[in-house]
Amino acid sequence: MFEIVILTLDSTVRLSTPLLLACLAGLYSERSGVVDIGLEGKMLGAAFGAGAVAYLTGNAWIGLLAGMAVSIGLSLIHGFASITNRGNQIVSGVAINFLAAGLTALLGQTWFRQGGRTPSLPEGGRFRDIILPYAEELRDVPVIGGLYSELLSGHNILVYAAFLAVPLTWWVLFRTRFGLRLRAVGENPAAVDTAGISVTWLRYRAVIACGALCGVAGAYLSIAQSSGFIKDMTAGKGFIALAALIFAKWKPANAMFACLLFGFLDAVAIRMQGQKLPGIGEIPVQFFQALPYILTVILLAGFIGKAIPPKAAGIPYLKERS
C-alpha cells in the first residue's frame, strides 16, 4: 500500500511539473493585467521547438533554449496584439492556440516526415533523471527509502527547477520593486503610469517572463518527459494550468498546490483505470479528467472561497483619450 502511494505521488510530481511551469507563466502575465488563454499554444510551440532542435543538435540545453525562444516569440505576438494594439486578449490567445497547433504539425511533417512528430532524440538530447546523493544506498531503508529515493530523487532537472520557481516567483512578485510594479499595473495601470513608469514596457516584460516559463513547460514535455515531440502533445494541459491559476487565486504557493492536486487527479486516473473500488465500482476515467475543470467552476462560483482576478486583467490600457 505504501509503495502504491509513493508511486502515485511520484507520478503526481512528474505530471504536475508542466502544469506548474505553465501556471506560473500565466501568473506573471495575468498579474500584469494581460489575460493569457494562449498558454496551451505556447507550450505546444515550445515543445516542438525544443524537440526539433534537441534532435538536430543532440543537446538538451540548446533544445530548451529553442523551446523558450519559440514560446517567447509567441508571447511577443500576444503582447503586440494586446498591449501595443490594444486588441482583444481572448481573441489573441485563441489565435495563438490555432497558430501553434497548425504550425507545429505542418512544419513537423515538412521537416521530419513522420506524421507531425519529431524523430526520437539522440543520447544527450534529452534531460536525464538525476539520482540524488545516497539515493541508491538508502533505497532499502523503510519509509525514508521510499520518500527519498523514489519520490525526491530520480527526476530530471526541469522538475526541480519548476518547484524552485515557486519561491522564486513569490520573491520576485512580492519582494522586489519589479514585482510590486507588476502587480500594480495589473490592478491600476493609470496609477503606475502617473508615477512615470511605462505600463507598456512593464507588461511586455511580464509576457516575456510568461513566455520563458511556458517554454520550459513545453520543453519538459518533449525533451524530458518523453523523447521527442508528438502532434498535439499538450492535450489541454495549458488550459488545466489556466484552471489551476484561477484555482490558486493568482498566488504562487497556491499555484503549486493546485497543480499538485490536478497532477494527482491525473495520476490517480491513470492508476484507477479499469480497477473497481469496493462499494463504488469502477469510476470512469473521464470523471477524473473532468474533475479539475469541475472544481475550478465550483471555485469560480464562489463555493470554495472566492477567486478575484487582478482588477485590470483583460482591459487594454489607453494612455490618453483624444
Binding site: I96, L99, L106, L107, T110, L300, A307
Partner: protein, 368 residues
Amino acid sequence: MSAGQLPRWVDYGLIPFLNLAAAFLVSGLVVVLIGENPLDAVQLLVWGSVGYGEGIGFTLFYATNFIFTGLAVAVAFHAGLFNIGGEGQAYIGGLGVAFACLALDQIVPWYITLPFAIIGSSLMGAAWAFIPAWLQATRGSHVVITTIMFNFIASSLMVYLLNNALKKPGSMQPETRTFEAGGRLPFLNDIFPSFGFGYAPVNLSLFVALAACVLVWVLIWRTKLGFEIRSFGANATAAVYAGISPVRTIVITMLISGGLAGMMAINEIMGSQHRLLIDFVTGYGFVGIAVALMGRAHPVGIVLASILFGMLYQGGAELSFEMPNITRDMIIVIQGLVILFAGALEHMFRPAIVKLFTPSRALAAKEA
C-alpha cells in the same frame, strides 16, 4: 481616434480587407517556407473550393457549421458577453439531435424528425450554456473561463456517454448506431441534381442556418429583447439604470447563444454523419469566434465570413491532396492568422488609415 472619423466603407470594407490581406500574405510566407509556390497554392485552393459543383457543395457544407457557431458568438457579443464555449455547446447539442433521430428515425419521415432535432439540439446547447450564464449573472464568475471549462467537461462527458451508454451493442466504436432514413436530412444534391454537388454532404440544414440568420437579425434589431441585449452590451450600467434586468439579459442571451451553437450538430449529425460520434465538432466552435469577428456580428457578414472559412476548409483539403507537402494543418494556420489579424490586431492599420483620411477631410472642411 474614434470610429466616427472614418467613412463607413473604410470601416466595414477597407480595414477588414487589409486585415485579411495581411493574414493571407503571412500564410503565403508560410507556404514559401515549406518550399511550395504560394500562387499555385492559392489557385488550387480557390479552384478546389468554388471551381466545380462538388467543391462548392463541400464549401457550403462547412459554411453551414460556421454560420451556426458564428451566430452563437455574435449574439453573445451584442450583450457584451464572450461565449467561447461554442465547442462544448455544439458537442452536447449533438446529444439532442441523436436522441430525436434515434427515437424517431424508424417511425416517421425526416421532416417530422427535423423539428424535434432542432428543438433537441438547441435545448441541449442552451442547457450547456446555462450554468456559465447563471454563474456570470449571479456570482460574477467570468463567462470566458467557465465556458472554456465547460468545453472540457463536455468532451469528457461525451466520451463517457458514447463509450458506455450510447454505444451500439456489440460494437467497439464509441458511436451510436447509424440512423435510418427518418433520421437523415436530404442532401441538396438529391433535391437539386442540376447543381452537381456530387458527393458533397451539403444538406437541408443550410436552409435552417439561413433561417436562423434571419431570426437572429429580427431578434437583435427588431424586438424589445434585442434592444435590451444591445443596450446591455453597449453600456451595462446605463441599461440597468434604465430598468433592464442584468441577470435576465445575460441568461437569456447565453441560452440563445448556446442554442445556436447546439444547432450546428444538426448539420454534422443529422445531415452528414448520420450517427453521433466522438469529436465531431473539431474546432468549429472556436472558428465561430473568427467568423463573428469578421462578420462584425451581423448575420449578413457572418454568412459571408462563413463562406470564406468554408472555402478555406474545402480548398485546404483539396490543396493538401494536390500538394502533399501542405497538410490539412495549413488550414489551422490560416485560421489562426485570420483570427490574429482580423480579430486581435484589428486596429493595427487604423491609425495609419485615419492619418491618410484626416488631412483631406480637414481640407474639405476648410473649403466649405
